[in-house]
Amino acid sequence: MHKIIILFLIYSTTTFAQSVAIAKSITGTVKVKRDNKIINIKKGNRLDNGDIVITKEKSSIGIIFDDGSRLSLGAKTLFVINKFIVKPSLNKFDVDIELKKGKALFSSGKIGKLAPQSVKFRVPEGIIGIRGTEFLVEVE
């Protein structure tokens, strides 16, 4: 019984808790909802697939993903990293990110050159697709 539990834990951490980015800069208070817990995020902390990033009033965050894509979020923003998979050696590209509320600036990294068609940037009303790009989004 013990063994099964351990195996399951290893499996779940490698599948779901994948680090995909780091917080390069933070102003004010930024939190992440991960595995039903709310964590305070500090400069240099890693961000995972599945993380929900929440910025408070007068707060912002600058993020760099593993492929060099850059994202910054303004105050009172809600952003979800559904998936950020960029693995050129395995030919696996799947980026699915979502601005629920607030403001964001996104600049694509290697994904913009290698597989731009595999990027989905969601907003409440639709989807933004990219062609090697930098863009701003505001959801009121």
Partner: protein, 194 residues
Amino acid sequence: MKIYISIIITLFFIGCSKTTVVLADNGKTHNAIIVKTKKGSVTLDKVGSYVDLKSKDKAPSKIKTMSKEQMQKKFKDVINSAPAKPISYMLYFKPNSLELTEQSKQLLKKVLKSIKDRTPCMVDIIGHTDTVGSNKINIKTSLNRAKYIASIIKKMNIKVVSLSVKGYGEEDLLVKTADNVSNEKNRNVEIFIK
């Protein structure tokens, strides 16, 4: 007051949010996005062009244009908190060795400073090879070169959040050549600092 708040919440849940999507300047000529709802899609390919989205069941608005100043004003906080663009360096090696060329020895100092300046950061180190000798040995050499550079970075005692080290063989040449061609451009380690 309470009624007012509940109205806002109701509006939000029936999907009356409003989104603005603006194409920003990425410093390249190749720059375009496609904005899609269930009812239609538009392509933005000029810096400052934007559309408003009112609902899933409405097509995006007509394309409008925002000046640089308007962009700066409306998106000040996100523009100011955007991280610096990642930077990449190439270090070159003497044939069949772990010794850097004289020029690259100088550049290495700049690389180390750049890592320090960008802390906290992630660093990818990727070794490449030329085609002199067997591929088996070349893969080993390219990995050893990458490991050698990684060891120098580790010794610096600065906080690198992640350090990835890879070595590529003759099937992933930087400059395509025939077999058994000595090419300095191919004997390199690329350092990608994010």
